[in-house]
């Protein structure tokens, strides 16, 4: 199990890569307008299948919403 902080919430997940994490959370990794950062650095979409997550990582998964 990997202990992650996902969008500010602690979670234990049985995944290794960002692509696996998205799938585990019910997010289609091919969906448009998604972005991911790990420990304050953006990870490009092309790297999601290989980007390995380690215990203690802080992951941000974001998308655009209405705004002013």
């Amino acid at each position: 199990m990997t202990r992650l902080r996902i969008n500010g919430v602690e979670a234990e997940v049985a995944v290794t890569t960002i692509a696996e994490l998205l799938a585990e959370r019910g997010i289609d990794p091919k969906a448009r307008f998604l972005a991911v950062a790990v420990n304050g650095a953006v990870v490009r979409r092309a790297e999601w299948p290989e980007a390995v997550l380690s215990s203690g990582d802080a992951v941000e998964i974001v998308r655009p919403l209405q705004g002013g």
Binding site: G40, V42, R45, I61, V62, Q66
Partner: protein, 256 residues
């Protein structure tokens, strides 16, 4: 008349930027954006719900408008820079409306951090449009670090108080080496026209449209106001005078 606004080499035919938040429903938002004639529509960047991904409205707007992501809610340069980088990845745009809030109650910008974050984002290749104080010095510093435009506030965000300090806005417009987009405080169409008459290159409106009784009509009104204000600015207002000047001829008066 073609009178495009050029920001960072991009030609825009509309001088009205519109925000996408706070409309009664999705259809009213779509209709209002259409009525506004805007090409640039702002969006925020937020954590997705971990309850499952649903299509965001931006998925729908993204193909029709140039989406300008903001860094709203950020209070540190670090968070604003990360938000801009996430926005670039999510929306495939280098443009960012940089907001760095120094006071949560008034939503006044934190100028010191704003200039620092703008500088860093410009170095990272972003086209930075900062929401800033109506302060000519702050605007100059933002232009100096390479911002593509400046977005001084008319009055507090969402206040509808119009242009609280028109002399300052006029001064900024007369000195700014980059386009000036009046942001925040617009309450109704005349405020938008006034901003343009003062010399602003464009106006950004969200709440005044979204929270009006009829957002579609207010969007159309804002479009007309921005066009009217721009035309009046180009035409040139007459000087103000404190005495009357009859407009009809004084010769040939009946009974003289």
């Amino acid at each position: 008349m073609t009178d495009p606004l050029i920001i960072a080499g991009t030609k825009l035919n509309s001088r009205l930027f519109v925000g996408s938040a706070g409309y009664p429903n999705q259809q009213v938002l779509l209709d209002s954006l259409e009525a506004s004639g805007a090409e640039i529509v702002t969006a925020s960047i937020r954590r997705i719900s971990l309850e499952g991904y649903a299509e965001s409205l931006i998925d729908l707007l993204g193909s029709r408008y140039r989406i300008l992501p903001n860094t709203s809610g950020c209070v540190t340069a670090r968070d604003a820079i990360l938000t801009a980088e996430l926005a670039r990845e999510a929306l495939e745009t280098d443009w960012v409306k940089l907001e760095l809030i120094g006071d949560r109650e008034t939503l006044y910008p934190d100028v010191e951090q704003l200039v620092r974050a703008a500088d860093e984002l410009v170095r990272k290749g972003f086209i930075v449009l900062p929401y800033c104080n109506e302060d000519p010095v702050a605007c100059q510093k933002l232009a100096d670090v390479g911002c593509a435009a400046v977005m001084p506030l008319g009055s507090l965000i969402g206040s509808g108080m119009g242009i609280a300090n028109p002399a300052a806005i006029e001064l900024i417009c007369s000195k700014s080496p980059v386009p000036v987009v009046l942001d925040a405080g617009i309450g109704t169409a005349s405020d938008a026209a006034y901003a343009m008459e003062l010399g602003c290159d464009a106006v950004m409106v969200n709440t005044a449209i979204a929270k009006s009784h009829d957002p579609r009509s207010m969007a159309a009104a804002m479009r007309a106001a921005v066009e009217a204000g721009r035309l009046a600015r180009l035409a040139g207002r007459i000087p103000k005078r404190s005495f009357a000047e009859p407009s009809s001829p004084q010769l040939g008066l009946v009974g003289s």
